[in-house]
């Protein structure tokens, strides 16, 4: 098995939710496993293993990334934010409130990824593509329970009255 003594592991430094870590990782280790298995960051969920579902989305150097599609070594020297670090941020707080008010989750598994997406869109509102409707924004995040209808409602609540959502009771 690989270990730091035989040189198969790489030394990386990474800041996660404001805490600095310095550790050895196998070059093949995915960022999502570094966060979950090594650092105990459990809001980052694994849904599809193939960068389709977005449940593992995190903010890396101010960009939204799917952490199952990034090697830990690629995240060296970067700053990562997850729901653990963002939960008291006013933009995220408001996103969470909208999710609760809109009944925008059932099993909750996709929720951290959805919230990170909403937070990311909100914090980059000025540079976002204004022509995108909410359905298009959600294409990289899969939810199997809600049919997206209430998630779209929560996004609408947060982003103002953009079209593309479902008007339902």
């Amino acid at each position: 098995m690989a270990n730091e003594e035989n040189g198969l592991r790489k030394s990386i430094k990474i800041v996660v939710n404001g805490t600095r870590y310095s550790l050895y990782v196998e070059p093949r280790m995915l960022l999502v496993h570094l966060l979950r298995d090594k650092l105990g960051i459990k809001s980052v969920h694994i849904g599809c293993d193939s960068a389709q579902c977005g449940a593992c989305s995190v903010i890396m150097n101010n960009k939204l990334v799917k952490s199952c599609n990034v090697f830990a070594v690629q995240a060296a020297d970067s700053e990562i934010l997850t729901l653990e670090g963002l939960k008291d941020n006013p933009l995220m707080r408001s996103a969470i409130d909208s999710f609760i008010k809109s009944n925008a989750y059932q099993c909750g598994y996709c929720t951290p990824g959805m919230l990170n997406l909403l937070y990311y869109i909100k914090s980059n509102k000025d540079s976002a593509d204004a022509s995108l409707d909410i359905n298009d924004m959600l294409i990289g995040n899969i939810c199997r329970c809600t049919g997206y209808i209430n998630i779209i409602k929560a996004f609408k609540r947060e982003l103002g009255a953009q079209d593309g959502g479902s008007d339902s009771r």
Binding site: G40, I46, I142
Partner: protein, 697 residues
């Protein structure tokens, strides 16, 4: 739903559980759909030491000894990615490395990959005379006069349930007390306990099954699987905690998918459109082994085939047949959507032939009064509901859009019974139930009921994920049964809790309950049918690229008493999207060799937000009786009655209140055929199967 942040995001799902000294389990799976197995080398656990079978357990499973699935096959593999051996390691990367290094000798055989081949070719299993797993003769031959015969071959392809959280388990073994402790993402701790006990031949009392926060189920998390048995065995063998988390690829290729049902049917009618008889054959693509829902499915589908209609002549031969595919399992609806798809498609075809209005032909064929079909489906005077519902639907029709309508029955699977435990601990009322939530919001529903009946604040009620050590018996969460079962048993449990407080303090007050250590366990059997009536309308338009856009879905349900309305709306909305998925894209694609080709979430056809309906309208029609708010006015007499005779008090309240109907699977039953009809109109091409390709060709 204040628990979103506290409970759901940061911990509690099965893969979040970390225990000291934990081993990670990985499986070596077959590269072929059918092959003889020679030597297996470098594996940690093989059939040589673990030669047991997966016992029948979970939703719809009946005892069968025809061809039970071995946990590890000894000589022949019968489906692609069937487990052959397992390895353990200290972390998941090392476990996958080890699994990759295991050497397996294969002699590939020709697999059976379709229902048609299964009926023609030699049996898959040695010692059997055919590939028929189960057969039911339903109804009887009939000889009738008719004017019109509608013939159709209808098919629902296999679908993977694909909850966003895959299957997973953490098994621990306490050697000193000889007890297995199982953490698992499941729809039924009771099924898992029973199944493990049977498979490993250990007493149920030596197994505690604790449900982890469960990230969706849709049927696939009800049963016991070979992987769970291996995890439990490995925990005992190595005396260390063992974790197995399924990959998405494993889920799609080797968990138990649903649907996979073919029907060849003939509908006979008079020239006015009155249906006179239905005959034909139904085939379930059972997959390689028995012991799952596949044994019983042919009968269950057949039983419901008449839907909301009066059809007095039925003659159906219904089969499940072995193929070299993963065993079939329940997927949301589990037999109900298949029956409704077949019947609703036939009735639309009949309307087309006679140029009749879809509402008119449906009403014409509904019984005037309560009706029991020749195959024993019971419906209560459907016309009253459907006349009212159709009036609502007709107002929603836009002449510029293509629409389809379906009228249908939801057969809730309430039996055989359910359990609940109310246990006061640290001034909180703790709830445990065998009908455990896997994302539908049971917590909200139980707080709604128990806060009213017991006068306890919702904040003082704690919904616990199921733990089999708190429950002697129970069933699980499936078959649109939870609300019905939980409302009933929670009412009994509340009456018994009041009685217990009264016996101790000579009075009942919520504060006295919360300061006590009262512990009430209730199990009730449910008998008879619990069916509800529903209807759906779907209207479509084309987009710029000629692809369909769901403009509107209108859903009218006789819900009885909705306990937690938001839960009901959530179930319907989520189910509508899965219905769109079933028609547009969801299926398992097997090549000629039986290899599953579409082994990713999007590849399996799971929908993104792109095809979300533009508008959803839900109308809930309630039956007569006390509603939830009326019950609040009745509480004092309920408490008085509970002091004397809790059983009687509960019975009385339940008989006075509105009935509670199921909802969870309903959209898949009705929205699928309504959408099929709308697509048929929009593209002027027949839709006889799901998924359909009418808008691709």
């Amino acid at each position: 739903m204040e628990d979103l942040i506290a409970d759901r995001c940061f911990k509690g799902y099965i893969d979040d559980i970390e225990l000291d000294d934990m081993l990670y389990l990985a499986f070596v799976r077959s590269r072929y759909a059918r092959a003889r197995i020679g030597r297996v080398e470098k594996a940690d656990i093989t059939s040589k030491e673990l030669a047991v079978f997966r016992g029948a357990s979970g939703e719809g499973a009946i005892e069968s000894n025809r061809a039970l699935e071995p946990v590890f096959t000894r000589d022949t593999v019968n489906y692609y990615q069937q487990p052959i051996a397992a390895v353990v390691a200290d972390d998941r990367y090392a476990a996958y490395d080890k699994a990759r290094d295991v050497e397996v000798e294969y002699l590939p055989l020709e697999p059976i990959t379709s229902i048609e081949e299964s009926l023609k070719k030699d049996p898959i299993h040695k010692g059997m005379s055919s590939n028929i797993n189960s057969y039911y003769k339903l109804g009887a031959p009939f000889n009738i006069d008719y004017d019109i015969k509608i013939e159709a071959r209808l098919y629902n392809d296999r679908i993977v349930p694909d909850p966003l959280e895959t299957r997973g388990i953490v098994a621990c073994y306490d050697r000193d007390n000889d007890k297995l402790k199982i953490y698992i993402s499941t729809q039924s701790v009771i099924s898992i306990r029973r199944g493990l006990a049977n498979s490993l031949n250990i007493p149920e009392s030596k197994i505690e099954v604790i449900q982890s926060l469960t990230g969706g189920g849709f049927g696939v998390k009800g049963a016991l699987y070979p992987e769970y048995i291996v995890a439990a065995y490995a925990a005992m063998k190595y005396n260390r905690p063992v974790k197995w988390i399924e990959t998405r690829e494993e889920h799609i290729a080797a968990s138990n998918p649903g649907r996979g049902v073919l029907a060849d049917l003939r509908l006979y009618a008079g020239s006015n459109g009155a249906i006179k008889g239905l005959e034909g054959k139904i085939y379930v693509d059972n997959g390689a082994y028995s012991g799952t829902i596949g044994d019983f499915a042919p009968r269950f589908i057949g039983m419901q085939i008449t839907g909301a209609y009066k059809i007095d002549n039925i003659n159906i031969d219904s089969y499940s047949v072995f193929t070299n595919k993963a065993p079939i399992g329940p997927y949301r609806g589990a037999g109900r959507p298949e029956a409704a798809f077949f019947m609703e498609r036939l009735i639309d075809k009949l309307a087309d032939r006679l140029d009749l209005d879809p509402f008119e032909i449906r009403l014409m064929n509904m019984p005037e009064n309560d009706y029991r079909s020749p195959l024993s489906l019971e419906i209560k005077s459907p016309k009253r509901f459907f006349e009212r519902a159709f009036r609502l639907l007709k107002k929603e029709i836009n002449s510029k859009e293509a629409y389809g309508v379906a009228s249908f029955v939801l057969v809730s699977g309430v039996g055989p019974g359910e359990s609940i435990r109310l246990k006061v601990k640290d001034k909180k009322l703790n709830i445990y139930s065998g009908a455990n939530s896997h994302g539908q919001g049971h917590s909200r529903l139980l707080k709604e009921i128990l806060s009213r009946l017991l006068g306890v604040s919702r904040d003082d009620i704690v919904y616990n994920y199921a733990d089999s050590d708190y429950l002697d018996d129970g069933t699980g969460s499936w078959g649109s049964r939870s609300a019905i079962a939980l409302y009933t048993i929670a009412t009994y449990a509340a009456a018994h809790a009041i009685n217990a407080v009264y016996k101790r303090y000579n009075q009942y007050k919520p504060e006295l309950l919360l300061s006590s250590d009262i512990d009430v366990y209730i199990y009730k059997e449910f008998k008879g049918q619990h069916n509800s009536l529903l209807t759906a309308l779907v209207s479509l338009d084309k987009d710029y690229f000629d692809k369909p856009v769901v403009k509107k879905v209108v859903f009218v349900a006789d819900i009885g008493m909705p306990i937690a309305k938001e839960n009901v709306y959530n179930q319907i909305k989520g189910g509508i999207m899965q219905s769109i998925g079933q028609l547009y894209s969801e299926r398992v694609i097997y090549d000629n060799e039986g290899v599953v080709l579409n082994r990713s979430l999007v590849g399996a056809g799971v929908q993104t937000a792109i095809n979300t309906p533009k508008r959803v309208k839900i109308v809930l029609i309630s039956s007569r009786g006390l509603g939830l708010d009326d019950i609040s006015n009745y509480i004092d007499s309920f408490i008085e009655a509970s002091k004397k005779d809790p059983e009687k008090a509960a019975e009385e309240l339940l008989s006075k209140s509105k009935i509670v109907n199921g909802i969870g699977e309903a959209p898949l039953i009705g929205v699928v055929p309504a959408l099929a009809r709308a697509l048929e109109r929009l593209y002027s091409k027949e839709v006889n199967e799901t998924p359909t390709d009418v808008f691709y060709s």
